[in-house]
Amino acid sequence: MAEPMKVRAKLAGDVLDVKILISHTMETGQRKDAKSGQVVPAHFIQNVTVDLNGKTAVAAQWGAAISKDPFLGLKLKGAKAGDTVTVNWEDNKGGKGSGATTIT
């Protein structure tokens, strides 16, 4: 998936503030196409993992209720400058995406 994705991580004291913006259609499977009248097939992110230096810090199971172009914000303890934050997601059609950033 060539969808763009933004990851930002900023240290405030000993707490790491992570912001993640994912570009995804997040179709619920309930919506009908206005022209054809056919149900638009569900297409949404199911699993999201946020890793700090390769170790999973947050793992989330998402469903169809999450909005289009989801934004995820979280705070982590025990991070230091130079560490890497990696985000991976997988949707119900097998699509995958990832993004990473180095803490400054």
């Binding site: 763009p4 933004k6 930002r8 912001k19 913006l21 570009s23 909005s67 289009k68 172009d69 934004f71």
Partner: protein
């Protein structure tokens, strides 16, 4: 030849009927008007009697004022006083979907410019550097003898340079308009209020702002002035002041999940007030856009934005 004569005389007949009924047709379109409020178009954002428009200008008129009153954010009865301008505070932090749309827009623009370099020159009216140009829109184009908005310029240039039909309100038009306007981000809006054509359009737009229409008999002013609903909750939200409201369009609307132009916003606003909306690009909406943008004169363009 005979056919031509026939159609000509038919035309003359139609013209006769129109002149005979002209008076009647005018009288038929009965309209009520909301009381006018004096606005000085030469003074842009500060041109209104502030008390008539929520008395909030002091809280959001510039970045400093916004920073000072940051404490209002999140407080239900205070937040609206910032005229929702605090949503543009994150300019340095590209973490809202408006930026995702901008990336897509840039790709689309570069794709078309690579194919037809003339497209860029058409958008810039001869100039190839588009930086800051969109802040001067809407403006009167003496060559086309029309008032051009950013969207109608994109539509025109797509037709002449690309041979593509990017009608106003289509995703392609919105994206390219978004990219074009983002090149003027932070530049103060400067609509030429000395141009007689712009001022004639402004006058028409001002009249439309106070014209009551539709099933509810609402005018724009019914919600966007203090004697109307500005300052009170309406559909769960407080309406904005019309001042500086054009600065962040085209914007990413969270509830649509898409980019929306100012004229599409007019259309949706009309529909919500149970009025038949007009298609984007309609001359009436252009007049209203001129009115709104003149009221934003001097305020920096904040595109991309999310609302």
């Amino acid at each position: 030849m005979a056919e031509k004569h026939f159609s000509l005389s038919a035309l003359a007949l139609v013209a006769l009927v129109v002149t005979a009924n002209g008076q009647a047709a005018d009288a038929e379109a009965y309209r009520e008007f909301y009381p006018h409020v004096a606005i000085d178009p030469a003074r842009g954002v500060a041109g209104g009697a502030d008390a008539e428009f929520g008395a909030t200008l002091q809280y959001w008129q510039d970045e400093q004022a916004l920073e000072q009153n940051k404490g209002f954010i999140g407080q239900v009865d205070q937040e609206w006083k910032l005229n929702w301008k605090f949503m543009d505070l994150d300019r340095s932090d590209d973490m809202h979907p408006g930026y995702l749309a901008l990336e897509k827009a840039e790709k689309l623009f570069k794709f078309w410019v690579k194919r037809e370099p003339e497209f860029r020159a058409c958008l810039g009216e001869g100039k190839t550097d588009l930086t800051g140009l969109a802040a001067g829109y809407p403006k009167y184009d003496p060559k086309l003898k029309k008032i051009m908005t950013v969207e109608s310029r994109v539509e025109h240039c797509a037709q002449t340079a690309l041979w593509e039909n990017f009608r106003q309100g289509t995703p392609e038009n919105n994206l390219i308009s978004l990219y074009f306007k983002s090149l003027s981000a932070t530049a103060p809006i400067k609509v030429d209020t000395n141009s007689p054509e712009i001022m004639a359009s402004y006058k028409r737009g001002e009249k439309l702002f106070y014209t009551k229409v539709g099933q509810y008999n609402f005018s724009c002013a019914s919600c966007h002035t203090s004697s109307g609903l500005l300052g009170q909750r309406f559909r769960g939200q407080v309406p904005t002041s019309p001042f500086a409201d054009a600065a962040h369009f085209p914007t990413y609307r969270m509830n649509l999940g898409d980019i929306e132009s100012l004229q599409q916003r007019f259309m949706r606003c009309n529909l919500q007030a149970r009025t038949k909306g007009l298609p984007p690009g309609n001359p009436d909406y252009t007049d209203l856009e001129v009115f709104y943008t003149v009221l934003s004169n001097g305020y920096p363009v904040s595109v991309p934005s999310a609302r």
